[in-house]
């Protein structure tokens, strides 16, 4: 995954065509930007300008949650964002019809395997964002593939996209930390009973979820069950296209004396094989 993933003109000016609060502190923004939407793949992301001008200075990275269509052609993107600071608040305040600068599509997409596999999407919190587009892409490829969406959140207010993904014919299971919806516990506990040959896992969420996912996948491997598993990391990204080296994650590297190096998650990822990351060195930012 070390080939530079981006090509051509990344900078675009879109128009905000929708911006509504769909859950507590969670906003769904629609941006019309046909030239970007045409080439967007599931698991890729965009960098959004929070406001016109330079304050806040840096753009914010968001998974492409879904695509907007017109006459069957992709003409825009949807992003799902949780308000956590001044930048995301500024984005929530964006008005319909406003121009919005963006870069994208960026990064390596998920590998979606083949339609004969059981694909399991594992999401934690706002890490749910990429999976509407993933589910849509899978359904376009095969109406019959078995697809499961396991989604966790700290409580029922922070569980996203269950209806949208269920409508696409996927099995949906929910876990919450406080038991207010679905399984009382972690989303990775829902994964364990599903593991069998032919399962492929793709995940997005906070680092503690990834760490427990890595344990589950490794335990399966030790039982002789090799589950292909990719994770999409959520590091904060000042640039998103490989210029700043700020968004690094520790990855396994036998060529280095300590067995790891830092990889720019924007261009070497954001999608990594779960076994490529040194989870013991990964900080818990969430």
């Amino acid at each position: 995954m070390d080939a530079y993933p981006n090509e051509g003109q990344l900078d675009h000016e879109g128009v905000v065509t929708g911006n509504v609060e769909v859950a507590r502190d969670c906003w769904r923004m629609e941006i019309r930007c046909p030239e970007l939407a045409r080439t967007a793949k599931s698991g890729q992301f965009v960098m959004l300008r929070c406001r016109q001008g330079m304050d806040p200075l840096l753009s914010r990275a968001f998974s492409i949650c879904d695509l907007l269509y017109e006459d069957g052609e992709p003409v825009g993107i949807v992003v799902l964002q949780l308000i956590i600071g001044v930048g995301t608040q500024a984005l929530a305040d964006r008005q319909l019809g406003e121009p919005i600068g963006l870069l994208g599509p960026l990064g390596h997409p998920y590998g979606l395997g083949t339609p004969d596999e059981h694909l399991v999407m594992v999401a934690g919190g706002i890490g749910a964002a990429p999976f509407a587009l993933v589910a849509r892409a899978l359904r376009e490829r095969s109406p019959t593939q078995r697809v499961t969406y396991l989604v966790g959140g700290r409580n029922a207010d922070y569980v996203y996209l269950t209806d949208e993904i269920a409508e696409l014919g996927c099995d949906v299971q929910v876990a919450t930390d406080d038991g207010s919806r679905g399984h009382h516990g972690y989303v990775t506990q829902l994964l364990e009973p599903l593991l069998e040959p032919g399962v492929r896992v793709i995940a997005c969420g906070p680092n503690p979820m990834f760490k427990s996912l890595a344990v589950v996948i490794r335990a399966a491997k030790e039982r002789g069950l090799q589950i292909p598993c990719q994770v999409s990391t959520e590091e904060s990204m000042p640039c998103g296209f490989g210029a700043c080296a700020g968004c690094v994650v520790p990855v396994v590297s036998n060529a280095h004396p300590d067995g790891f190096r830092f990889a720019k998650s924007c261009v070497e990822g954001p999608v990594f094989d779960v076994e490529a990351i040194r989870w013991d060195l990964m900080r818990s930012i969430h």
């Binding site: 530079y4 981006n6 090509e7 051509g8 003109q9 990344l10 900078d11 300008r49 330079m54 304050d55 806040p56 200075l57 840096l58 753009s59 930048g87 600068g101 870069l103 590091e235 904060s236 000042p238 640039c239 296209f241 490989g242 210029a243 700043c244 080296a245 700020g246 968004c247 690094v248 994650v249 520790p250 280095h256 790891f260 190096r261 830092f262 261009v267 060195l281 900080r283 930012i285």
Partner: protein, 313 residues
């Protein structure tokens, strides 16, 4: 107003640039990564991310933190090292449609000299920038903290390297002017002013700095007034070209730096907003000059000093 398109060409010693817009070290990789995203033929040149003798993994994250009007970084000179640079990167930067200035840093004075010697043997590199001022590695600031240290490294580098040599200095010193003058006396082709200001960010709940080293470098529009003053003061005190760096994000910023005394500029943090920002700035420069009836951009360099002289007379 002249009908001819204004000339954007500038000169740094023997090095001619098609326009004054360079990318700043550490903000645009080694340039080649973005050759498919931007028209690098439209900018003055790329100054590469610092290359050190040995590979460096860089500092553990978090490495950056956004501030009002800017950001902090503590990347720690992540780079493939000299051998990795020559093997994997050099062939690609030589294909760039603009000059490539190699930026190097040593852990010791001897490292700097050896890196300069090796750089001098490369074909196709347009210049050498000595990073005497990295705040994010142990001892990185020592090389530009005194006139003697900075002057000696520049002088010794020039003795083993025929390339134009730029000295990139730190603003985190008591008085930068004597350090700049020492670099000039040592024969530096130009001065790159400035590297980041020291700063930090605190996580009050954890009662500690965000950064593992406690310090980081501040960059972005918020440092422009301080950097602009340094460029104005130093350019009044030296005869060699000054390259202005600090918070440049628009063509107007470029022109302000040039009037303050810069012969060229480097766009840094603002590159993170858009890989095509440097070329957009270069295009906008031409428009602004045409509007203002300025034929040659290099006429603006140091205009503030000439204005000042008139006031004093």
């Amino acid at each position: 107003m002249s009908d001819a398109a204004p000339s954007l060409a500038v000169r740094l010693g023997a090095l001619e640039l098609r326009n004054p817009v360079l990318t700043a070290s550490g903000t645009y990789g080694l340039g080649y990564e973005f050759a498919r995203l931007a028209d690098l033929g439209a900018i003055g040149g790329v100054v590469g991310k610092t290359v050190t003798m040995q590979e460096r993994l860089g500092n553990p994250p978090p490495r950056t933190f956004e501030t009002a009007g800017g950001m902090l970084n503590s990347i720690g000179l992540m780079n493939p090292g000299w051998d990795g640079f020559v093997r994997d990167v050099l062939p690609r930067v030589l294909d760039l449609p603009c000059p490539f200035v190699l930026n190097v840093a040593g852990e010791s004075e001897e490292d700097f000299i050896e890196l300069a010697r090796r750089a001098g043997q490369l074909d196709g590199v347009a210049g050498l920038e000595l990073n005497l001022s990295c705040p994010n590695v142990a001892g990185g600031l020592d090389f530009s903290s005194s006139p003697e240290a900075a002057g000696r490294i520049v002088s010794r580098a020039l003795a083993v390297c025929d390339l134009p040599v730029f000295a990139k200095l730190s603003p985190n010193v008591g008085d930068i002017v004597p350090i700049a003058q020492a670099c000039e006396a040592a024969g530096a082709t130009a001065l790159s002013l400035i590297n980041t200001f020291l700063g930090t960010a605190i996580d009050w709940r954890k009662r500690k700095s965000i950064f593992s080293r406690g310090v980081a470098g501040v960059s972005g529009p918020s440092i422009k007034p301080m950097a602009l003053l340094i460029v104005m003061r130093v350019s009044a005190a030296v005869g060699i070209p000054v390259i202005g760096i600090g918070g440049i994000a628009t063509a107007r910023d470029v022109l302000e730096y040039m009037v303050a005394g810069a012969a060229a500029v480097q766009v840094g943090t603002a590159c993170f907003l858009d890989p095509r920002l440097p070329e957009k700035i270069a295009h906008e420069l031409r428009e602004l000059l045409a509007e203002e009836g300025v034929d040659r951009i290099d006429e603006l360099t140091g205009a503030v000093h000439r204005q000042q002289e008139q006031v004093e007379r």
